[in-house]
Symmetry: C2
Subunit: 513 residues, 2 copies
């Protein structure tokens, strides 16, 4: 299956090379399997499918066969999709974005734990997930000395390899050999009371080693693959994304002009998606230079900023590139290696480092309320979309926490600015900036009622703005307390209307009832 | 006014000694006044009252006179109460607990900013509160060299003294002279991108200096006082507090037995109140030793633990003791000084340190919902009680985050376990343990529905448990999504019922409507 010379250079391990089907036999019903993978990169590509086949066969015989699946973050159809399709997942954490898996979670058939990405490794060390039976980790090569060259993401792999009883490796020859040297795996973490300061002062600092360790005796199977990461093409930013990006860029320039941000800004964290890509594209249009990123994922937009010199250094835990960008990346990898560092996710998202570096956190949202609470995870308060991911790691401890989305969704039937969010992932205490295509609300240093006026005036869509104004005015006069005025019997009525009538617009009440 | 020799030993400053009334003249309408004070200790005691008189006189003449008041945390009637009574406060942050002030905030007459206590100093440095016109800070003495011996709390005083244009000092000779040497003021903080690791590895480490700096030319007035801190007697823990403490202590022992906590536990953070005092009392009954605390406030319970040797070291930003405990403290201060360190609140609550040390956070709450979201601030979603204080600093970054309260309030008319909290201060991602007198729910490693079953079964009061079970079951079958099942038109109906009928019990609907 591999092209070119074998990537498995440690002769001690050659006897463990086998097919994905054979490797999947190490995974038994009920096991906890800790897998690699972060934002569709560096996930195992062969064994999960072989496992899905085993599970399907077991189910056909009437046997129960489900596993608990832990990863770095989201993976791809050949992992989450394949396993969910055969009803093979009992529990999943800490993040997912697969449509089949999501449907099963929202049907109540899979237990899903939505966890801050920086917390996962320490929770495993605390023992909160129970024993890890198998680590299933993609690497890009195994060196002569047995050290593992990480793949296109690191995620929780260090912890999985250390904690699991048995290790199955996928060695993926599709991953560029030149990834070697791009990683920085920090081996200095510990459990309290033995923790020490993490010696990272700048986004580009290298504080660890380029390789992952794994005792050879723990490795039970090695599968060779040659398969691309899930990588979807990016569409060019649409007009609304450009408007949102424009508001945020204008704000950043304004903050620099007022001396509240240095000209090189502060390390950028950027969530995934078209809006943040539009922001990154805007940053590359000449007004900024010498920037840095301390983030989870390097996407196309960030790679472009490295390519054109706007971004001097980008630190992340994963590369998640489109096919085009992958090609550019591989072609110029030796240059990119000077500007990119990949780290374990507990370091890329570590609260100590996010606070020290003063990250500018830029993340998408499902909705915000007039008081600045943000829902990142639950549609209509109950249906999980993906998960909180790293947004909380950065929003809670960063210098600026910006949340962005269009002001409406589903052709205007949903307002993303609501009286009260139906689920809270980021509290009023942790949200500084809310941006929609309508405008930007700077909530820093404002009381709840001052925030409400800003959010309504600047971020709400004109179709919903009068309804929000009216709610807020009535709440200000009738609320039980007038610090954060709310009418409890109406606060979630917009969501209820959507659930019942398919739109938050009130006229639906008349037409449908 | 002062007893004994003057505490003002720097001869350069003697010309600025004046009455509180004269000092209050430095404060003009609309000014931002940054005051000392944290949990009723170390706040200025004379100038705020003189300021209140000035304000009252101005109002009598029809002039507008209000100020913006910043502190460390809560103060006392002679500050917040006196100023609120004369309608002298325009804006208040970051925490308060004064009944008169609270009523004005909830009447919508004062803008109140409820901010994580660890964020306040950095926000001032970021410029989010605008220029600080006057710092009004209590100290216990001024040394010959002009260095200031801090009072019974440090709070944000370092930042206020550095940032304010003018400084008014109150030198309070009631504060024990022997406080000298107990403080550790860290001068190593910076704005990003110049931040460095904070070199604190253990709760007792001293990383700064015992004194506060202030350029003498900035000091415009010095007022001598001899006045006690607000200090209220503690009532003995009631039966419910003892039960809550019992559940938590049993859990901690269980965690030690299972190797998830070391025998000396991890540094304790303890919120204010009778329940946490009961926990501390329980810790002192012999099963634990060699403990440490890394917390905001040292109250009676913690002092007792130091006295009996259970607690080896306690780090905080404030002492808040009853009259009895104050007497014991002063009598034995040289011994206590070996075991107590007082720090600026940005260090006592710093996320970097809370995470590194792995604090066990124990805080009260207003309510929790079945999915583990916690409301610490808003009664019925709109009426502010006190504020989030430091609970978020510790809950978000600590090792364990425990929230405690009785299962009901107001003679059973309020259930503190509800379908959905009416305000979220600590999200489902950040809450590990919920405790009531009924029992303890360990939410770590559980999905939302697993959490709901635990919270309902273990924490809810029997009078409300069937209602919660019934809500949860119906939500599981009828919710839009079944990851976090909710019925949006009922989720806040318990609170609405309380607002309308004065009780969350449903029978009230029948009797009153």
């Amino acid at each position: 299956m591999s092209t070119g010379p074998s990537r498995i250079k440690d002769p001690r391990l050659l006897d463990r090379v086998m097919s994905a089907e054979d490797a999947a036999r190490f995974i038994q019903p009920g096991m906890t399997v800790a897998m690699s993978g972060f934002t569709g990169s560096g996930y195992p590509k062969a064994v999960p499918r072989a496992l899905a086949s085993r599970i399907e066969a077991a189910h056909a015989k009437g046997d129960d066969f489900r596993v608990r699946v832990l990863t770095g973050a989201s993976t791809a159809p050949e992992l989450d999709g394949a396993l969910a399709k055969v009803n093979g997942i009992e529990l999943r954490l800490p993040y997912q974005s697969d449509p089949i898996l999501r449907d099963q979670i929202n049907a109540g058939r899979i237990e899903y734990l939505d966890i801050h990405l920086s917390h996962v490794a320490q929770y495993a060390w605390f023992g909160l997930f129970g024993p890890l039976d198998v680590a299933l980790v993609e690497v890009s090569a195994i060196r002569e000395d047995g050290l593992l060259v990480p793949s296109s993401s690191i995620g929780n792999n260090k912890t999985w390899l250390e904690q699991a009883k048995a290790v199955v490796l996928e060695v993926n020859s599709w991953q560029p050999e030149a990834l070697d040297g791009m990683h920085d795996v920090y081996y200095g973490t510990a459990l309290p009371p033995d923790r020490r300061p993490i010696p990272l002062l700048h986004p580009g600092d290298r504080i660890g080693e380029p390789y992952l360790h794994c005792p050879p005796e723990k490795i039970v199977a090695i599968v060779e693959t040659h398969a691309p990461d899930r990588s979807s093409a990016f569409s060019a930013p649409d007009a609304q994304s450009e408007q949102i990006a424009g508001h945020l860029l204008e704000f950043l320039e304004h903050e620099v002009a007022h001396g509240r941000l240095p000209p090189k800004l502060l390390p950028l964290q950027s969530g995934v998606g078209n809006i943040t890509n539009a922001v990154l594209a805007g940053l590359g249009r000449g007004k900024f230079s010498g920037l840095s990123a301390y983030t989870e994922v390097i996407q196309d937009g960030m790679l472009d900023l490295v390519a054109n010199g706007t971004l001097e250094i980008a630190s992340a835990t994963a590369l998640s590139l489109s096919p085009d960008a992958t090609e550019r990346f591989v072609r110029d990898i030796d240059r990119y290696r000077q500007h990119i560092v990949l780290r374990p996710q507990e370091i890329s998202n570590h609260p100590e480092l996010v606070r020290r570096l003063g990250c500018i956190a830029m993340n998408g949202m499902i909705e915000a309320d007039i008081y600045g609470n943000v829902n990142s995870t639950h549609v209509m308060g109950s249906r999980i979309q993906n998960g909180i991911g790293g947004s909380g790691d950065f929003a809670r401890n960063g210098y600026l926490s910006c949340f962005m989305s269009t002001s409406t969704a589903k052709n205007g039937s949903i307002s993303r600015i609501v009286p009260m969010v139906s689920h809270v992932d980021h509290t009023e205490h942790d949200v500084s900036i809310v941006v929609t295509e309508q405008g930007l609300a700077d909530l820093r240093g404002l009381s709840p009622k001052q925030r409400a006026r800003q959010v309504i005036a600047r971020c709400a869509h004109p179709a919903y703005r009068p309804m929000l104004e009216e709610y807020f005015e009535r709440a200000c006069s009738k609320s039980f307390g007038k610090h954060t005025p709310h009418l409890l019997d109406e606060a979630l009525s917009w969501h209820q209307r959507y659930v019942t009538h398919g739109t938050m617009r009130p006229d639906a009440n008349n037409s449908n009832t």
